[in-house]
């Protein structure tokens, strides 16, 4: 192993990157604007949910209920007819439709326990459950208050004091921002190393390297350090400038520890990029392979939906993915302020995954060159 060669070849990679202005623009975009837009776009878990009300009662109470819905959780409800309801829900215009039956107020006061129907478009999973919970709460509150004017309460005086820790306003933008950074890290590091290797192969420059006194390990390490460095700097920038400053997400833990973890993560993902490139012969093949790997990495790492709800088999497999470990670890460091004492298992896992991928990639790379 000649470290000077590793250094020289790495500098070559960096110069090559510098010559591709479009790629530089994309990198900057991925680590700034893209993260910003992403984080800003994510709604509160329930925000501006589309609701319509079919008011067949036309009473004081029904008007009161209708008036209780509105921003920020719901849009100002649209008043529709029973027949219009089906059509509108079919077209996906409304997620919720509340049907208040005729004589609702009278029946309620008479103690006949009338029923209100809530129609939920259950193909919109993210709002179906939480939304119907909110609707229930709002309607119950309005009814109780209305009834309270007429009769004595029979409610039990038990209160539930709910507090969210680490992200008290439960602002999903915080989480989204960090998640976007993680996605950008894995996407970019795999593309930069893998696609660059395919390009060298297509242009015949890899073959050229092989007649020189340079070993496969040196070529690989040079790509890992140079491209890893680029992504590391970009992600550091993203965390400090975009996430902390522009998006004003309060970062709890040590950014330095996060950067160290990112370096380990990059070791793993750049190795993975090289591994994929050795498996693919041409750029279109690599592009497809990339999709095939990147999508599960991003979607199943726990960044998009909670890992708890995934099937056990997928969970088990995904625990070997660097992204999964990195998501757990970043949430710990950035939100819960976890230190080395807490995240060491993930750091260890990342190092192990990285070493395994490096070893695999090196073996394949040698074969790829031969």
């Amino acid at each position: 192993m000649n470290l000077r060669n590793v250094w020289q070849l790495g500098i070559k990679e960096l110069r090559g990157l510098w010559r591709d202005p479009m790629l530089l623009v994309l990198i900057i975009y991925a680590f700034s604007l893209s993260i910003y837009t992403d984080s800003k776009a994510i709604p509160e878990s329930l925000s501006n949910a589309a609701i319509a009300i079919v008011d067949e009662d036309r009473s004081m109470l029904s008007a009161r209920i209708t008036g209780a819905f509105g921003p920020p959780y719901f849009v100002t409800p649209r008043s529709i007819t029973t027949t219009g309801m089906d059509q509108r829900m079919d077209e996906g215009l409304e997620t919720f439709a509340l049907d208040i039956p005729p004589d609702f107020e009278r029946d309620l006061l008479a103690g006949r326990v009338p029923a209100i129907q809530l129609n939920v478009d259950a193909t919109r999973m993210s709002q179906a459950f939480t939304g119907s919970g909110y609707v229930q709460q709002i309607v119950t509150a309005e009814v109780s208050e209305f009834v309270a004017g007429h009769r004595e309460a029979t409610e039990l005086p038990v209160d539930l004091a709910l507090r969210a820790r680490y992200n008290p306003p439960l602002d999903p933008g915080w989480f989204g921002a960090v998640n976007s950074v993680i996605n950008a890290i894995s996407m970019l590091s795999i593309i930069l190393t893998g696609a660059a290797l395919i390009r060298e192969k297509e242009h015949g420059t890899v073959e050229h390297l092989l007649v020189m006194p340079v070993t496969a390990a040196e070529i690989m390490l040079s790509k890992i350090w140079s491209m890893g460095l680029v992504v590391l700097l970009a992600s550091g920038f993203a965390i400090v400038v975009v996430v902390q400053m522009a998006l004003e997400v309060p970062v709890q833990g040590s950014v330095l520890l996060f950067v160290l973890a990112s370096a380990l993560m990059l070791f793993a993902t750049t190795s993975m990029g090289i591994f994929l490139a050795t498996a693919a012969g041409t750029m279109p093949q690599f592009g497809l392979l990339l999709m095939l790997v990147l999508m599960p990495l991003q979607i199943l790492s726990g960044g998009m939906t909670p890992r708890e709800s995934m099937p056990d088999a997928i969970r088990a497999i995904m625990s070997f993915a660097p992204d999964t470990q990195f998501v757990i670890l970043s949430q710990g460091i950035l939100f819960r302020g976890a230190g080395l004492d807490v995240v060491w298992p993930q750091l260890l896992a990342l190092a192990a995954i990285g070493s395994a991928l490096f070893w695999l990639a090196l073996r394949q790379f040698r074969r790829f060159l031969a």
């Binding site: 479009m22 193909t123 999973m125 009769r151 969210a164 710990g332 819960r336």
Partner: protein, 909 residues
């Protein structure tokens, strides 16, 4: 200066061209006579290729005026009208060919592009292949052809449509003498049949130029002289063109003219540097190198000659360890070749046929990097780099990128790199192909010096006979076998030939065992096909579709990945993208420890949503465990909970949720509140009896379309749009950018195909592939995931067709901005995956999004197709319900395609 003949095929007036700061052409004015064979001569980098590409309309004219075939070349309509009459063969070994397509398929593509019928194409292809002696290779992929055969194929492709104006940029570079002779015979025959045809050829072979009718000599972006070869020689008072050219150079630019002389080698038996014994290499059932043996002494210059594709390169690759021999062995410096032996690599310099240096590094950086990689002492490097730059005449271009340099100068750079570390052995594969004569002489002087002074062993292949004569010994190869091996003089004498070239050709003809192809059917008698004009030609569009489909079919891995991959992704995401939250961990700090408090906890612990962890011992324990992310929820039940409840006093239960994942936290909070309310209602009934029901109402929640609220039913239909976005977009983007990066885009520049034909033509196969994908995914969703399909399948399929049309068009749009495949891949992933997964309603409905993401979501095609997909699967939607979706998707494609046409350039800048 001789006046140009009155009728000219092209007139160039005051044309200048610069690449960045480099001036390629400055104020060039010349008229090119019609019906003649015009040669463009001059050293490397004087602007020959630039001039030809401007004539062909492949490059934008920056300054000046060029009229070709009676019209202005800046006028796009004129270019479109006349480009069927022009044929352009760019420089470089088969850069405009499609490597995975066979010889016949490449020709067929060009034939279709120019509108020949099927029978006519077959006739033309047969006659062209016969005329060039390539009939035996008609089914071989272009990538597997040797350099010279690629050139021949390139010429055939240029000739297939009977051009009136043939533009050839160094067509015989890297072509063996026999093929070269056949090549010019072919051109002569075609000109006999079509006397009106004008030909302009850039060439580095002065002996070829001697045979042309009229010459343009260029130097440093300017025209030095024009006239017939005899004219030029007479004017310069020289007896050959080489000398004439030099005499024509302005004062101070003339260079050394003495012929190269290498002193004879001392005849003693030196040690053996290279030894090959019975080397054999087979690729499948094709034997590339067949039982080749030779010994080369230290300090010897050993030449390797042979027809194109005879196995020279393969032999050299075996010697450098790039290929393992199938049989036999080779030794360098007495050691068996070991690809991992770094020491041997350090002692050998290798230069491969194709340019293989880093195009992203400047000339100087390339030299510097290689010096360092070969482990030269850092202190000595600047001096060494400086010397190589001076020695190979690279000073003017030292800080430029190789990509912008002409072939000849790139070859010089490759040589300089191969020699930078002062190796003891040089293995050079056609090092002087495309290099001008003066630079070649200079190069051979250096080789002579290295051999005689420093004892460097040189193993070199070449197609130039004068170079072969400089070698100590040469081997003639054909079809993998060595025909003869001796000194040049002995070989010529043994055949009784006048020149080495004649001897060489005689040997080859003996080996082939037949007369070289002579009279094949003369190509083309049919009148020019009528279907060349028109704003939009279905035929031309389909020829690009066919091309793309063929390339796709040649790449079964890509095809399999596209189809199988999407199924795998659907499987993974369908199961993994789960919004049901279950088995969340929680723990309780129960300070009451009564039956009531346990009853409360039991309600939560008993649900499928939560699993209970060991009880909390105090706040510290709670903090620590939440900090580690072990608990999603912590509950605290205050002391005296049961007592206070019984007395009707206000009590509060504390609940802490881990908010670091807000989506999960919201769900947890919803569950806890729901269970809390449920528990209270139950307790109230226990305490107050039926009275508690008074004033109560029921909220009946109907979960429509997905009554069990299963994630799979909601997610699987939404994953289909996502997959039909990502994969088709990546494939089309790379389909176009690949052509740009690998050079075949020039066909689009110089053939009659329009931008729209090109784009839609490229798009069609991917639309078809995406529709196949769509069918598979839908079947998979219904059969494997058991998602009920309730709507109209034809209506859904129509929506899918409109949608994939839009997504493939998006790939095309991205491709118009990108030059490198790496950037294109990154851009496509970035611009499809994020909007597709985040802004299109896959998880959060678009109506709930905010800011720019909302705007993108509203117009992004995926949004509409997700509505269609969920509608068709779960909501029983029929044709009439899809109105808005159809409209939105129908509107998207023309806009995206229109933008792509707008941004796609029909000429290089």
């Amino acid at each position: 200066m001789t006046a140009a003949p009155p009728d000219s095929v092209a007139e160039i007036a005051g044309v200048s061209l610069r690449y960045g700061r480099t001036v390629a052409l400055s104020d060039v004015s010349v008229a090119i006579p019609a019906g003649r064979m015009v040669g463009l001569i001059g050293p490397d980098g004087v602007g020959k290729s630039s001039l030809l590409s401007l004539l062909a309309g492949a490059r934008v004219i920056q300054q000046g005026r060029i009229a070709v075939l009676g019209g202005d070349m800046t006028d796009a309509r004129h270019r479109a009208r006349i480009c069927p009459r022009i044929a352009y063969m760019p420089q470089g070994l088969g850069r405009n060919l499609y490597p995975t397509l066979s010889v016949a398929e490449n020709l067929d593509f060009f034939g279709r592009l120019f509108g020949h019928g099927a029978a006519e194409r077959v006739r033309r292809i047969d006659s062209l292949l016969a005329a060039t002696g390539m009939s035996a290779f008609r089914d071989r992929p272009a990538a597997k052809l040797s350099g010279g055969m690629k050139q021949k194929l390139g010429l055939c492709c240029a000739l297939i449509h009977d051009p009136d104006f043939l533009i050839l940029d160094e067509p015989t570079t890297g072509v063996d003498p026999l093929s070269r002779r056949q090549f010019w015979d072919l051109i002569d025959r075609i000109r006999r049949d079509r006397p009106g045809m004008s030909v302009i050829v850039a060439t580095a072979y002065m002996e070829e130029a001697t045979r042309f009718d009229w010459l343009i000599a260029m130097q440093a972006g300017r025209i030095l002289a024009t006239g017939s070869p005899a004219d030029l020689m007479a004017r310069a008072g020289a007896e050959d063109l080489d000398r004439a050219f030099i005499a024509l150079l302005p004062e101070g630019e003339a260079r050394d003219l003495d012929p190269v002389r290498i002193p004879p080698r001392p005849p003693d038996g030196a040690e053996i540097a290279i030894e090959a014994q019975n080397l054999t290499k087979r690729f499948g059932d094709f034997t590339a190198v067949d039982d080749v043996s030779f010994r080369i002494e230290k300090g010897e210059i050993f030449g390797f000659l042979g027809s194109n594709g005879c196995g020279k390169t393969t032999t050299m690759k075996m010697l450098t360890g790039l290929l393992d021999p199938s049989e036999g062995s080779a030794r360098l410096f007495g050691h068996e070749i070991d690809p991992n032996d770094m020491e041997v690599r350090r002692r050998v310099g290798f230069m491969s046929q194709a340019f293989s240096l880093y195009s992203e590094l400047t000339v100087r950086q390339n030299l510097d990097l290689h010096a360092r990689l070969f482990g030269m002492a850092p202190a000595a490097i600047p001096e060494r780099v400086h010397r190589m730059i001076a020695r190979f005449g690279l000073k003017a271009v030292a800080d430029q990128l190789p990509e912008a340099l002409p072939l000849g100068i790139r070859q010089r750079l490759s040589l300089a790199v191969a020699m930078i570390h002062g190796p003891e052995m040089l293995i050079l594969d056609e090092p002087t192909s495309g290099v001008d004569p003066l630079a070649r002489d200079e190069f051979w002087r250096i080789l002579g010096e290295l051999s005689r002074k420093d004892g460097v062993t040189i193993f070199v292949s070449t197609h130039f006979m004068n170079e072969a004569e400089l070698c100590d010994r040469i081997s003639l190869m054909h079809a993998g076998r060595v025909l003869v091996s001796d000194t040049a003089g002995a070989i010529t004498a043994a055949k009784g030939a006048a020149t080495l070239e004649d001897a060489f050709i005689a040997h080859l003809q003996d080996a082939i065992g037949e007369e070289p192809v002579t009279e094949a059917a003369p190509p083309a008698t049919e009148a020019r096909p009528a279907r060349t004009g028109g704003l939009f030609s279905l035929r031309r569009m389909l020829s690009y579709s066919r091309l793309e489909a063929l390339q796709l079919r040649r790449d079964p891995i890509r095809l399999t990945l596209a189809l199988l991959g999407s199924l795998i992704l659907m499987f993974v995401m369908g199961y993994g993208l789960n919004m049901d939250v279950e088995d969340l961990s929680f723990a309780v700090l129960d300070r009451d420890q009564t039956a009531t408090s346990r009853d409360y906890v039991l309600d939560i612990a008993g649900s499928r949503y939560f699993t209970e962890g060991p009880p909390l011992t105090g706040y510290d324990d709670m903090d620590a465990r939440m900090h580690r992310g072990e608990l999603s929820l912590a509950l605290e039940i205050p002391p005296g909970f049961a007592r206070d409840l019984a007395r009707g006093k206000d009590v509060a239960i504390g609940a802490w949720i881990d908010g670091s994942n807000p989506t999960r936290a919201e769900t947890v909070s919803g569950y806890v509140q729901g269970m809390h309310a449920h528990w209270i209602a139950r307790k109230a009934r226990e305490i107050y009896g039926a009275e508690a029901l008074r004033g109560d109402f029921e909220l009946v929640t109907r979960f429509r379309y997905n009554p069990d609220v299963k994630s799979i039913v909601a997610m699987v239909p939404a994953v289909i749009p996502l997959l039909l976005l990502l994969i088709p977009a990546v494939l089309t983007t790379l389909g176009v950018v690949r052509e740009k990066e690998l050079g075949s885009i020039v066909n689009f520049y110089v053939t009659p195909v329009t931008r729209l034909e090109f784009l839609i033509g490229k798009q069609l196969p991917y639309v078809a592939l995406a529709m196949l994908n769509f069918a598979l995914l839908t079947a998979f969703a219904v059969m494997l995931f058991r998602v009920p399909f309730t709507g109209s399948l034809p209506a859904f399929a129509l929506a899918a067709l409109l949608y994939v049309w839009a997504t493939t068009a998006m790939g095309l749009l991205i491709s118009t901005f990108m030059r490198s495949q790496v950037a294109a891949l990154f851009a496509t992933v970035l611009l499809t995956m994020i909007p597709g997964a985040q802004y299109s309603g896959l998880i959060d409905p678009v109506s709930s999004l905010q800011g720019a993401g909302r705007v993108i979501g509203e117009i992004y095609p995926t949004t509409h197709f997700i509505i269609a997909s969920r509608g068709a699967f779960s909501k029983a939607l029929m044709f009439q319900d899809f109105g808005t979706v159809y409209l939105a998707l129908l509107a998207a494609t023309p806009v995206i395609l229109g933008l792509s046409v707008l941004f796609l350039r029909k000429q290089a800048k």
